[in-house]
Symmetry: D3
Subunit: 132 residues, 6 copies
């Protein structure tokens, strides 16, 4: 199995509901360093997994919908705990949509899966992986 | 599949038996930077994999049994080469016990697996993964 | 010159005023990975720069005043752009106060300076250094 | 499942053919930080996955065939886009050959798989994994 | 003293002349992860060292003159060993020119110095610092 | 000012005397990731700070005197707390001796200073810098 991974980041504010979150129930924020990993079983005709430039561009587009935002104010997240693991899935699903729409190039239709990892600090991170 | 990972570290002394270890047969030591990764297929009612605070606390408790110790002196490791990969399993198994005993919260009973990685230097690390 | 450095982190929300900040004028957030570096010209009687345990504890205390907060709501920052470089100075000054009050141990009175670095992402950080 | 990983690096020049590569069609270069990960289901008689010293030596030997080279000039890569993902497979396959030839020790014949990751920058990397 | 640092990278080919370089006399290449650090004694009216967006943009512009190039082919480097430390100075001087030309904003004229660090691998880096 | 830095590591056991060390008074150990930084004001005739290959070799030699050792057993450290900051000075001084003896090349006699940093974990490190 082959993979390529590209990295970007996003800076957001949010709060959580539920006693399990302790002081993180207060409005606070995070930098998420975001790694998007694309897998496939065989390389394409150019000998690559996916166009790394397009992958970086599409990841940046997906993140721009979150960047410098208070996630508590976004209608799409109303009533949702925007945990690191939830956001990993949100970003992975948006990237998957773009793959299916051909926005990562025709060759990207041969991709097998996506994994998105969000590093929230030097001591904690979360990930979500899915098939394509 | 979702995962969250928390990081801590432990500083120990030990020695190895067997020619394969070369100079590491002498009493020496290591800092292990320890990553504990918890996986599950669906998020819980709080939209998380596991309470990251509890995960960090339990990892710290497991490591405290090793920290600032000469592992050669611990009865539980008598006659055992406490290699990095062996210690990864030791820590993973102790975390698994705590999951099964409910010490990572009731929700943690939905966890699918644990992976523990021990980084022994900037150029070498070992890991052990198991189901729960 | 000797130094020791300890690392911790803090997760906050805030917003900026001024066109130079572009989209960061919106309420957003950041994880700051915080490094506090203490310098001195000669080691103390224990052969150390400062008690690394105390240094870590005091850094944690200083950060707890900011952690999981919206800095826009804190009276001490009213009307202030809480930029990464400003926060580096804020934390360094609070640590300096604790040094002067003896909270890092009597030996710490021999410290020469403090530098605080805040990493706001994998591609940007800020620092402030001062004498003691 | 157990694993150990060792890290080394290699510095090469090359160029790519195909519009997808944009400016990387020009002769340029890269440092690849190379991680070789070896997996097995049970530890060997010494309580290890593989002799980490031998693993490091063999990885260094494989990389020495590429190091300080213009890959465009190597007959084995004639007409091939030496992408990061392609090189990950090249290195993994060469390590697999050495495992099968006993060059990582007799115990290494119990290895289950190899994964090779090449980090080409702080924001992009590629990997290839295979069974043994 | 305050500082902010921004990170980018560049991928180049080159060769060296001189026995001290050993196999690096051959045409090879490198990824340089480039950190540009800007210092000043007091923050500006916006409470910052310099506009981090402009700093990132200008660093990217300077690197674009090198990126995906064989440095041996660039007239400005004819007869010069483009060592990591030499390139650190080259980039720092180009950034200094841009500061003096007002391209990092009017406030940037209060900057005290620049340091540029080029990481060529996980085990080696070089830096150059200068006043402004 | 120019600098180059090379990285290696060493794995040791030791114990400390003094209440300030708490549980670290017990025999334990550490991996130190060691960075040796060499500075000079002008580059030499080859356009470098120092031969990076020689610098790496000499650092490895200095570390080999400590590697896989219990420092409590070494006569040179009898009665001494081998703290991270003390070891940074020990290594820096040994490198300085080698510079003065010409073991880093004739050109190295133009070096201005050395800084040695020992990272003992992902959250703590110490350094020592001196003139040459």
């Amino acid at each position: 199995m082959f993979s390529i991974t590209v990295r970007d980041h996003v800076m957001i504010a949010h709060s959580f509901r539920g006693e399990v979150f302790g002081p993180a129930q207060r409005l606070h924020g995070a930098t998420y360093v975001v790694d998007a990993r694309f897998t496939r079983t065989e390389l394409d005709a150019d000998n690559i997994v996916v166009d790394i430039g397009l992958a970086t561009t599409r990841l940046g587009e997906v993140l721009s919908g979150l960047n410098y935002r208070n996630l508590d104010d976004l209608p799409e997240f109303a009533g949702i705990n925007t945990s690191t693991e939830f956001l990993a899935k949100h970003i992975a699903d948006q990237l998957a949509d773009r793959v299916h729409q051909g926005e990562l190039g025709e060759g990207a239709k041969g991709l097998a899966g996506i994994e998105v990892t969000l590093q929230e600090s030097h001591v904690a991170w979360a990930a979500y992986s899915r098939a394509l």
